[in-house]
């Protein structure tokens, strides 16, 4: 039996504000991808989102299980977001992990699982699908309507199963 290991592919920490962080030229030799995001917004509370291969079309769907700031639980649907109440603010108190399964496959749509949370707000478990059979070669991380602030960190790993 082979061994598995998460191998670093890319890491970015912003030294100035930016509209997005793009991790491109992702190699195809891994099984899954994992993103760890520690986002900060320049203003207000903003949802985090991802686009694959720069596709900004209506090809993303997700189902969400969440807890709200008033400690109720619920479910929702959305599109490209990877948080619901675990959205980021200006104070660096949110965490998000995103796992993308079989990202290099060319015979299936891409599914992903996100976990996010912000201590003053809530927690989210999100399962999503990108309706494309293209292999994922780039990931764009952004805020839905906001700007990423200095200090935002995003790291990307590939799961090596060799």
């Amino acid at each position: 039996m082979g061994t598995t290991a998460w191998v670093p592919i890319a890491e970015t920490t912003l030294t100035s504000s930016a509209s997005s962080i793009v991790m491109s030229s992702i190699p195809s030799g891994y099984k899954d991808l994992m993103v760890l995001a520690s986002g900060v917004s320049t203003s207000g509370t903003q949802d985090q989102g991802v686009y694959f291969n720069a596709d900004t079309g209506s090809n993303y769907n997700c189902v969400i299980l969440y807890s709200s700031p008033s400690n109720t639980v619920g479910a929702a649907t959305s599109s490209y977001i990877i948080d619901y109440y675990g959205s980021v603010t200006t104070d660096n108190t949110a965490s998000t992990t995103l796992q993308i399964f079989d990202y290099a496959a060319t015979d299936k749509h891409k599914s992903y699982l996100a976990r996010s949370g912000r201590a003053a707000s809530g927690t989210d478990l999100i399962v999503g699908r990108w309706a494309s059979t293209s292999a994922i070669t780039s990931i764009t991380y952004f805020l839905n309507g906001g700007t990423l602030a200095t200090g935002t960190t995003v790291a990307l790993w590939g799961l090596n199963t060799a």
Binding site: P8, N71, S95, R115, R118, T123
Partner: protein, 165 residues
């Protein structure tokens, strides 16, 4: 991503009121703490408090019991109590970002499972934040309600290196 084991603690005969990691190496990018625990609380379940530099985090948790789902204003993942199924221990993973930063707060996420081969059993998704710009140099784990962890409980702390690109 490389995870390096920094320290592992296993609770011995007689139990322990808490588990503490001190003098945490500051050279990693993040920390992962894995907990396998059972508290002495006389109930099916308890929860685990994580303290950084002696300070309790604020946060939220959402957990399912197998028959219902609940959210509360607590960051403590549900864990095993002493009337839980014999020999069952909970499994919890904490992922702590920015722990060595002196300019950022330290947000964290936790996944917890307390499977008992019975009902109830719990799965928790929790989030918390240590609202301080101080680097995290110590971490203490305690039962939320019980007064200690039972023998064979254990905890391990790993330093995570994002690695060179």
């Amino acid at each position: 991503m490389k995870q390096t084991l920094l320290e592992r603690v296993e609770v011995g005969s007689g139990g322990a009121s808490s588990i503490t990691f001190t003098s945490i190496d500051q050279s990693y990018d993040a920390l992962v703490v894995l907990v396998s625990d059972r508290s002495n609380r006389a109930a099916v379940n308890d929860a685990v408090i994580i303290k950084m530099n002696g300070t309790t985090s604020t946060g939220k948790r959402m957990y399912g019991s197998g028959s219902s789902i609940t959210a509360t204003a607590s960051p403590d993942p549900i864990s095993a109590g002493n009337t839980s199924t014999s020999n069952s221990f909970s499994n919890i993973q904490f992922v702590i970002s920015n722990y060595s930063s002196t300019t950022k707060y330290k947000p964290w996420l936790a996944d917890g499972a307390h499977e008992t081969n019975g009902n109830p059993a719990y799965h928790t998704l929790a989030t918390g934040v240590y609202s301080s710009n101080s680097a995290v140099t110590s971490i203490t784990l305690e039962p939320e309600t019980g007064t200690g962890f039972l023998e064979h409980s254990s905890a391990s702390i790993y330093g995570v290196t994002f690695g060179s690109i």
